[in-house]
Symmetry: none
Subunit: 129 residues, 2 copies
DNA sequence: AGCATAAATGAAAATGATTTTCATTTTCAT
DNA sequence: ATGAAAATGAAAATCATTTTCATTTATGCT
């Protein structure tokens, strides 16, 4: 008689997901780990990585890449936004990208791509720098 | 009297660029290095990386990312453009980003940023994949 | 030619994110 | 309460990329 292990609960997944939410829905594994540490949560870095992988395979989070190659995880369905980054001081503003969304959609259709995502970022010098 | 070292020639840059061309204009640093090794060229991995960085800062090549985060270098037509990349086979289409340019300009003005640039990339699965 | 100087080179070590290993702990149908 | 399978996490392994530093090379000057 076969056991059914379908309903195993992971203690970590919900905590990692919750932390990602509180981080603005946009963070790297290392950042999530450090955040949880700082808040006194007991979890291992390995588990953070595994939780994020599992959340990604369930399509609950998206995986993007920073310019330096570090993976950043983004809540799917959560407010999707872009960044305006100052090259001088590193200050970052979250911005809306309505026109970019439209642009990406149109282009993707034009070339017959499916399962489409995009990245867009603006960088320059802020008033202070 | 100040010397003028402007015209120093790197032996490596042209060789790396040439190898990237022969590799189909789309390869990682490690791949370029291995290719040059196999062909008996004498060059160090460090130098391959440095040449690619320098070619990138001269806008002769573009830097993209594989899904696993590895950097891939791509010969660039020169004009400013964006990319539509297939997550499956890596096929890349250069696309126009007129709306993105406008969007970036408007946002930058709104927040008082100057000396502004941007990146934008669309990724998904092409018809074949 | 010969010298001085700064850039270019590359081997080895360092870095840093991510994955793997493996021993231990937890979960849950029975 | 039991036991099989999954989850966990510390430490080690991986792997791309960067840094260090000693050596070589290119170039301008005399």
């Amino acid at each position: 008689m076969a056991y059914c292990w379908e309903h195993r609960l992971s203690r970590s997944n919900p905590r990692v997901l919750n932390t990602l939410e509180r981080a603005g829905g946009f963070a790297s594994a290392q950042e999530i780990y450090r955040l949880m540490q700082r808040e006194g949560e007991s979890i291992g870095l390995t588990t953070v990585y595994r939780s994020l992988q599992s959340l990604a395979s369930e399509k609950i989070v998206d995986i993007l890449r920073r310019d330096d190659g570090e993976a950043i995880f983004r809540l799917c369905g959560g407010a999707h936004h872009h960044h305006l980054v100052c090259k001088g001081c590193g200050d970052t503003v979250e911005i809306e990208g309505g026109e970019v969304e439209k642009w990406a959609k149109v282009i993707a259709e034009e070339y017959g791509f499916r399962d489409v995502g995009h990245t867009a970022e603006i960088f320059g010098l802020c008033e202070k720098c």
